[in-house]
Symmetry: C2
Subunit: 458 residues, 2 copies
């Protein structure tokens, strides 16, 4: 296989995102950007003009009056991406959808529908939801525990991919001469009965031009990494340094190979903020200014709660040692992240105030400088085996424009990044193979084995 | 309130629909129309150019190899309508979504999202699903019984509308001077705990320009009629004659008034096929030809099974009396419809073959003739109190064009139908009031009462 080029995704949550509570104050951004379809279309068309691989939509399902602005009011990923599908032509459409609070049949069907509507550009970012409050919106007294969340996720992906194999590629002759619409031998029920799910199938949708939506994954715990290594086509992560990135990529590759996959089967795509200035110093000044404007200490204190099930840290003495007992609140939330924060505070004997400050400072981007500096750094990470591409976190429009107009042309001139789309599908542009047709598949996975003896439904 | 004008909706399932198994054979229609977004956009833009109120998407969740073509492979309504939202500007977007197999929080959120994306054009056709096979796709051993299906539906609508009232109209000042994004006193949790659902809320989406999506309903059983009369803004029905239509409208009005609603609160919109010819005789010839081409006796026999949970009637002697014992299979399906078929056969001692033939013949449209004849008949029904508008079932493209180009101008010239949209929202065009802001509401409904004491979530 020829060397892949660098992949680029755009992560947008309207105006703002983690650490960007005040982004809506910027007069260059509509204050209602998170529910403004025109704004989304404008940003995504810019990314498409620059030949980005995909736009990536994050999600959440629970709010309180204390939630950050970008949580309070946001378009649902599936409806948003479907609306973007008819306003774009080549860019991939990746939505965050939780395995904890959607039925697998509906999710499989809606993603397959988006995939057909977009001509093979759909992607699914698989999450298990780290917000315990969301459970109450779905009839649960409390959120699933960690083992259950991931047990469900593994089985869930298996079910969804099984449903996506309901029809073989050539199931619909639609031959007007012979009057044959469907070849019934090419329709397969799933008849899945597992620990968590029971789904008969088949799905009432043909395969898309890319075979199946592309699977993204973002969890960073041990189970999360296994889920990504075993099932995902691409992983959305965070890397503070080239060494971090390389270690993460090696860890995922090791887990993927151990699961019988190829070393190149999983793309590693860290999410990054990028700051471009006239000079390196100018860029650092811009970063400092934007980050200072983006959120206050109070807001950072609030956002600290996210990994701890949105536990309210305002109740503690800011100048007392970090309250490590709060880790208990993270049990059904982002426990791995919370654990790292508690460790960090313990190691250096930090107060709560210091912990918030250190975490804010650690958000500093490794990609800050003149266009030349940023391009060089991206290429160094890419060629150094620390990433396969970047998920560019949409910042200030002016900065996004500078990245597109100044950095991207350098990446293209160096032959690292495309100047034209190679394909019309997301899978094709990412350089991923189209999943084999059901009949051509070796019975390698449990799902494939389960499907082999299944007869066409009667 | 001034007299409303006639409302028009377009019902489309790609190529084909009930009784239209062979529509895909027509060379003027793409054979893959049911999954062809370009075809949908083309039809819906035609309807929008003719100032139709809405496009209406039907749905189903279960197939076998014997399912009619339009069931086998179809885009999911929410994703399809979201894709149509950005390809249109004024037409309403009404999707069929079942209360039996969606969680109310996800459904409320996705419809609210579509409503915002489209600028206030979303509608929800509430169904409880009459296909027992669908249950197996959602982890159930069998479908809910009739009482449970409707018990859930009543509570479900209450929950969804409650979630749609999470924010007051002016909850988001987004004031850059004062830095106030949200007025937290205008965010309300739902805290619903009912017989079937437990949903805390609030929903993470602001109200749309039309306040809430418009509620459509289509069930025709006793509980179905009550559900429509008590909760719906519009009812999709079938009427064979002006007398039928008038009786249905009076029945719904009576039930609505008994539930404390106004006599004009529920629009009655029968679904109709329309055949336009150069003369009345020419139109009757066209109808006969199309109906003959649309399905064979074998296909009509298969479709008879729909009301009986897709029971296979091919196993019975065609020339023996209609097998009335099959009614048992309709218990968790469209029981009222099945009951009517059994009654029909019993009354006239029909064989199975005769029953299929009589049912096929009864599909004859009351709106067949020259453009003048069809327009006159529509006006007669409208002014005679038998309908508030029509759901035009998309037939052959040539016939749709004739309706748009020949019949609609007559309706406009007679002042019965609009020449320009009155509003940008579906609710506005249908002449329905915008649901009151939460604070302005009298605590009339159980939901409103439940919400009054609810505090802003903490």
């Amino acid at each position: 296989m020829t060397r892949r080029t660098l992949k680029l995704g755009l992560v947008t949550m309207g105006a703002g995102g983690p650490g960007q509570h005040n982004r809506w104050l910027d007069p260059d951004i509509p204050a209602d950007a998170s529910v403004n379809i025109r704004w989304y279309i404008e940003q995504v068309r810019k990314a498409e003009a620059a030949k980005f691989d995909f736009v990536f939509i994050v999600d959440s399902q629970f709010i309180t009056k204390d939630s950050p602005p970008h949580y309070l009011n946001r378009l649902e990923p599936l409806t948003l991406l479907s609306a973007l599908a008819t306003a774009t032509s080549h860019i991939g459409l990746v939505g965050t959808l939780t395995t904890s609070f959607n039925s697998p049949f509906n999710l499989a069907r809606r993603l397959a529908s988006l995939d057909l509507i977009s001509g093979g550009r759909a992607g699914w970012n698989v999450v298990t939801s780290g917000d315990p409050g969301a459970a109450g919106n779905f009839g649960l007294d409390e959120h699933y525990d960690y083992e259950t969340r991931y047990g469900r996720a593994f089985e869930y992906i298996d079910v969804v991919q099984g449903l996506w194999r309901s029809y073989e590629d050539d199931a619909f002759p639609r031959d007007r001469e012979t009057g044959v619409f469907l070849d019934p031998a090419k329709l397969h029920a799933l008849n899945h009965k597992g620990k968590y799910f029971s789904v008969t199938g088949p799905l009432n949708l043909q395969r898309s031009p890319q075979g199946q939506p592309v699977i993204f994954q973002a969890g960073d715990s041990d189970h999360g990494r296994n889920l990504g290594a075993q099932t995902a086509d691409a992983i959305f992560t965070h890397s503070a340094s080239i060494e971090d990135g390389r270690a993460f990529k090696q860890d995922i590759t090791r887990r993927a190979v151990a699961a019988g996959r190829g070393a190149d089967d999983v793309l590693i795509l860290p999410g990054v903020s990028i700051y471009v200035g006239d000079t390196d110093e100018d860029a650092r000044r811009i970063e400092t200014e934007y980050r200072r404007a983006d959120h206050s200490f109070e807001q950072a204190l609030g956002e600290l709660g996210r990994s701890f099930g949105w536990h309210d840290f305002r109740q503690y003495d800011l100048d007392a040692p970090f309250p490590a007992e709060t880790l208990e609140h993270a049990r059904r939330s982002f426990f791995t992240q919370a654990q790292r924060i508690v460790e960090l505070a313990r190691k250096d004997d930090l107060t709560l105030r210091q912990t918030v400050e250190v975490l804010s400072a650690s958000r500093g981007s490794p990609f800050v400088g003149s266009a030349e500096t940023v391009a060089n750094e991206i290429i160094r990470w890419f060629e150094g085996g620390a990433l396969d591409g970047l998920n560019v976190m949409l910042g200030h429009p002016d900065q996004f424009d500078r990245f597109l107009n100044e950095v991207v042309p350098i990446l293209q001139a160096r032959g690292v990044y495309r100047s034209e789309y190679e394909d019309t599908t997301l899978r094709g542009n990412l350089g991923l193979p189209k999943p084999a047709n059901i009949r051509a598949e070796a019975p390698a996975s449990p799902t494939a084995r389960r499907e082999e003896p299944a007869l066409a439904v009667s």
